[in-house]
Assembly symmetry: C2
Homo-oligomer: 347 residues x 2
Amino acid sequence: MSDRSGPATIRDVARRAGVSTATVSRVLAGIGNPKVETSGAVLAAVEALDYRPSAVARSLRMRRTNTFGLIVTDIQNPFFPELVQAADDAARKVGYSILLGSAAFDEHRAVHYLDLMADRRVDGMIVASSQVAEESWRWLSESPVPVVVVNAEPANVPITVITSDNRAGLRTAAEHLIGLGHRRMAYVRGLEGITADQPRVEGFRAACRDAGIPDADLIELRGDAQFAGGERAVSELLSSGGDVTAIACHNDITAIGALRALRAARIRVPADISVVGCDDIAAASWVVPALTTIAQQKADMGRMAVERLLAMLDAREGGIVPETIRVPMVLQVRESTGPARLGGIGS
Amino acid sequence: MSDRSGPATIRDVARRAGVSTATVSRVLAGIGNPKVETSGAVLAAVEALDYRPSAVARSLRMRRTNTFGLIVTDIQNPFFPELVQAADDAARKVGYSILLGSAAFDEHRAVHYLDLMADRRVDGMIVASSQVAEESWRWLSESPVPVVVVNAEPANVPITVITSDNRAGLRTAAEHLIGLGHRRMAYVRGLEGITADQPRVEGFRAACRDAGIPDADLIELRGDAQFAGGERAVSELLSSGGDVTAIACHNDITAIGALRALRAARIRVPADISVVGCDDIAAASWVVPALTTIAQQKADMGRMAVERLLAMLDAREGGIVPETIRVPMVLQVRESTGPARLGGIGS
DNA sequence: ATGAAAGCGCTAACAA
DNA sequence: TTGTTAGCGCTTTCAT
């Protein structure tokens, strides 16, 4: 093989097989009915030259890259890998691949990836990041390339959204606790402004109201959606003498921080206080006690996002109406929740 | 803007600015000294048409994609995200992006990504996966595109490798434990055949021997590098009456499984038994007690891999000699290790 | 059933 | 300083 300059091209193959490049292209694409000898010759040449068609050239010609962009808030957040994997699985099955961008909580980076993916001419984008400014949402929604937003809800922008039903999810959490007899509870919120924060508290509160628990009985704390925030919030709660029998948290990481604070204070979970998280990350079942949580169906969401993109691609000129799909969250009971103690902590 | 067919091209811009495409190209690349009016006109046209150069076309022409492929064993393994993020950071800084592939423990998938990335004409590849067959390693090492292998050590193949110094790392772990007075210890190995498995046990054993601890005193257990394996191995150890004061584990996930088994058996950590892990994943500091571990410098490794690739690209015809770089691991003392109890567990 | 030729959008000689 | 032209590697009419 003449390794003179880079990988073999379709011309090299054509030459060696004694046919035209068009024929090579057809044979490889399985188009037409080539004579056995021709296709044989082509295949042999391909083999001999170790020819692999350039996806770059093909993309240019076909005006499609068979690639979807996927932007996540932060790949280091254990919530995302499962989503990424599922999206990749779904994409791979239909011959697409995923170009990943991790915004690392940085809005500039998010924009950077948006641009990058536009430049790369991805055939569609999945944006699973709330670090996106209003104007970028607008830009996305007006873009001709199909976009699916995951777990974020751009206000007043017509765009397809797939999101966990946070409100209903935290309602379930509250109902679970209330069913166990809890009435004095605390809720550790996420980072201010985070998309899911508001609906989650609201869902929780709504269930409380329905159960006749006065608004004032629910202690609301501010976390940061990280371990440290959960730990801090709960230790402050304890030192300020907050008297609750259950703590619900914005997410699992927060809840795991809460567990640690409780443990430091020698409070037993769930005997003294129950704790419930949200997301169902892997670590939720690793901690002691294993965390009861409201699971997000991450894999489903990743798969759905890709399917949606594919549908939009098909429909194209048909025009698919932007729609908000709420994926149910499911209660996962483990060890961190139990019946409410009757007295206060000290009793 | 005439939105007739897809995004604006360089020709659209040229036409609108009344110049040639070459001029547009130059102005945007900052080459030559265009007259102010020309460059002004070009820039204006670019703005007006919202022109973004096609990376696809540029790649075809330049014969480089400004992309590195990165294949990981399993993106859901908490070890990888930090590596990915670091690689992406480093790459982004020099105008490269990362095409990610998660093999999900599947050798076929790994090969799939290898092919995919070759087809995409990535400018370099980082392979952080041991799910790669001998023949693929060979193929990689002979490939004209620069390759860096992370945390895997293809046997008898001349290729650049960046790996944690597992042997030295686990030696450090053993020394830490021995320094605390432990002499009867168990070691939970990883999945059979996993690259790091062998060097880690060996390092651990070596330190034991140096300290005059008879080989027979070290109980060796087989885990699976997952939570379940650690839990199972340790509960079997306990039920078979294994009498140790410390347990070292192939990785943190295993160690966290071990913690759970110990807890279930009401054995206190570290009062009764010390536990040490390896990797330093986020969850290591979340569990109770927080896990003492041997940290891998994942971010460094990701960065180094990219730098290496860049160097190879520069050197090109110069030819860089494949080299194995061992990155030190660092002992991270937390709460799960302490002085050895004098008697046995029951004493 | 196959080939010739055009063109996807860009950059880089080479000319002017 | 700018334009003309060729060509990166592929697919796809349109002929034959």
